[in-house]
Symmetry: C2
Subunit: 419 residues, 2 copies
Amino acid sequence: TVNGERMMESLHDTCKWGTGTRWGPGPNDTGMCRLTLTDSDKSVRDWFKAEMEGLGCKVSIDAMGNMFAVRPGQSAGAPTAMGSHLDTQPTGGRYDGILGVHAAVEAMRVVVENGVQTKYPLAVINWTNEEGARFPKSLHGSSVWAGTLPLDKALALTDVADPTLIAGEELARIGYAGEMECSAKANPLAAHFELHIEQGPVLPENKQRIGVVAGGQGYKWYTITIRGRDSHAGTTPFAYRADPMLLAAFFLTRAHEIARTHSGLVTTGIFHAHPGSINTIPNNVSFSLDFRHVSDAGVAAIDKDIKAMAKELETQGDKYKCAIEFEPLFDAPAVQFHPACRDAIRTAAEGSLAAAEVRDIISGAGHDSCATNLHCPTGMIFIPCKDGLSHNPEEYSTPEDCVLGAQVLLDAALLFDQG
Amino acid sequence: TVNGERMMESLHDTCKWGTGTRWGPGPNDTGMCRLTLTDSDKSVRDWFKAEMEGLGCKVSIDAMGNMFAVRPGQSAGAPTAMGSHLDTQPTGGRYDGILGVHAAVEAMRVVVENGVQTKYPLAVINWTNEEGARFPKSLHGSSVWAGTLPLDKALALTDVADPTLIAGEELARIGYAGEMECSAKANPLAAHFELHIEQGPVLPENKQRIGVVAGGQGYKWYTITIRGRDSHAGTTPFAYRADPMLLAAFFLTRAHEIARTHSGLVTTGIFHAHPGSINTIPNNVSFSLDFRHVSDAGVAAIDKDIKAMAKELETQGDKYKCAIEFEPLFDAPAVQFHPACRDAIRTAAEGSLAAAEVRDIISGAGHDSCATNLHCPTGMIFIPCKDGLSHNPEEYSTPEDCVLGAQVLLDAALLFDQG
Ligand SMILES: NC(=O)NCCC(=O)O
Ligand SMILES: NC(=O)NCCC(=O)O
């Protein structure tokens, strides 16, 4: 069984790389800001490599910087993998992704320690840029592996805060542009299991401890640019304005209504106004749009309604009009995870808990597992986090829940290997 | 009389310092980006100083970098001044402020050339940071001179795009932190005349050529900060959000309604979202708010209604709420210019034009003249600009109108001196 103390210690210890906002007095009362492909990401990657090599694993790095630590099994073949990510949001916490990797590392420690002979190889994976917070595609490394994103496009992405910084160059700079081909064909997996915090309110509200993830919401990301006409704030009557800021305000309130009508979600996290002067109506504004729905049909309906709304807004204004452009950034279809993995997870969970403490659940967030699911049986385990709060420095799960999740991860992976 | 070709040549020639966006193929078909206290501002200041010294003027620089070029009169005493500003918006044009200084320089050339003996000294002034585009107070230099803004506060202002850059340090860096006290008491003026483009649609729509400015709108600037709770875009139900971006959108649409109801104006030109990640609901957003009304009572009414609206918005949201903060940046009361100056301008204008081509007009924008008006008789002359467009690279006035305006400026200043 999993050594909980050892796991939590290594989790918190490695949070010295990329420590974020402090929110309380305790030694671990800080969030994380470990944006992908930064120096702090390099440091934690170096730790991961050394740790896994110390456990006798072979660590291979692919062209996207995805890291695969593999321990041989009795037979050769594709490994059963446990994976997640070590990058975080700019105001992220200590659990999103990080827990999944540390639980997998701990599972591997237990396997090595006990000389467990798996039928097939066992792997721990650290996927590159799951968050999409710095380079604006989530599941960035796993999507290239899955073949839904071409490598050249993935490497050409630019930093949302500084467009002179390019993903491929940053990857090379930190020394993690690997030689292995990034592809499910060249580097196949037999299965992918991932432990993650729920990041939402369902488990805590229902006082349940393990979620067997049935699937994930679909979502789409755009950059919206509204082009108007820069003019004087004091002398330009409303009727003479093409004010992209005002149109953006209408756009955002209307998009919110549309998502609500469809029981979906919509969020704008990035917003820029140009040229950025108090007494000049902006020439243009651009902002991110993230919308989600549990079904692909729901995502498509929101997409259609938002585009129709934008067309309608474009015709508003008096003498001058704005133009609204949609630049697609990322498109993640809804996902159903594999029955064999779900079964293995439920069996493993019910080995540690009463059935009533385990529930089937839908993921609101995207995960690398959504990408691996296209090529191999995939399953996810959720544990509760406090108030469902995530992408926030105060994100928190109890050590008990983290350790329980790690145990379920280990047990499910071994069940699958044996099955 | 004014030498129009010489004036327009020196205007366009000095636009090589801080050239902005190109909008047409011609040599002068570019806008300006000469933000205050930048290297390009230093270059044009150096030109101004050399040009005025070449005309035999004494150039004094005060602690705000305001530049006073003075030619003695028959009697000592406070000079009759012609002034405006050489700084521009980031997407500004070649006329806003620039024309006013070049017309004054040309007027001084004519006076010198013809050996005109004025009763009192005659001055040309270049005021610092009229625009407020880089350091967020408009009429920055003239307000300190007028005593409505303390010098230390004025020098402590930080750059809207990079808060590590401080106005006082930038002023010293470019070598224009002068030794003269910046104050109307230490350095009084007998009068201040300013030629400016209208920047609005009244003159061009009425096919009139000279506006005798009766007064100016009042306006107020704030930085509004809305604080929410950073959380996950995909897993946080609407009812669990405190989304400052959505609240900002409601705020902006409601502020627009309020300004419209009061026949005022409102504009947001700067907008920042933190931390700026596509799939994180922002922790906070901050934006500029500029609102205006022809009367102080109107400005106060808009202010009151916007604050009440903000209070109401704060109580919205379900489980979590946002807080809305107002940081006052700048407050410019409505202005009535001096009858003696208005009379001088009308007499001068009717010397060149039929009375029907001259109109009384209200300024939508603030001007350094609004500050000088607190201490000395002040008057402003407007000429039309194309489509009323300003704070835009395509801002344009015909050479004929520029030259006419300069002639009226010169004639009005001499009338006042003789009067
Ligand atoms: N789990 C997680 O936070 N993923 C980031 C991708 C997304 O759902 O936006
Ligand atoms: N004339 C002019 O553009 N002044 C800038 C100050 C203002 O915002 O009105």
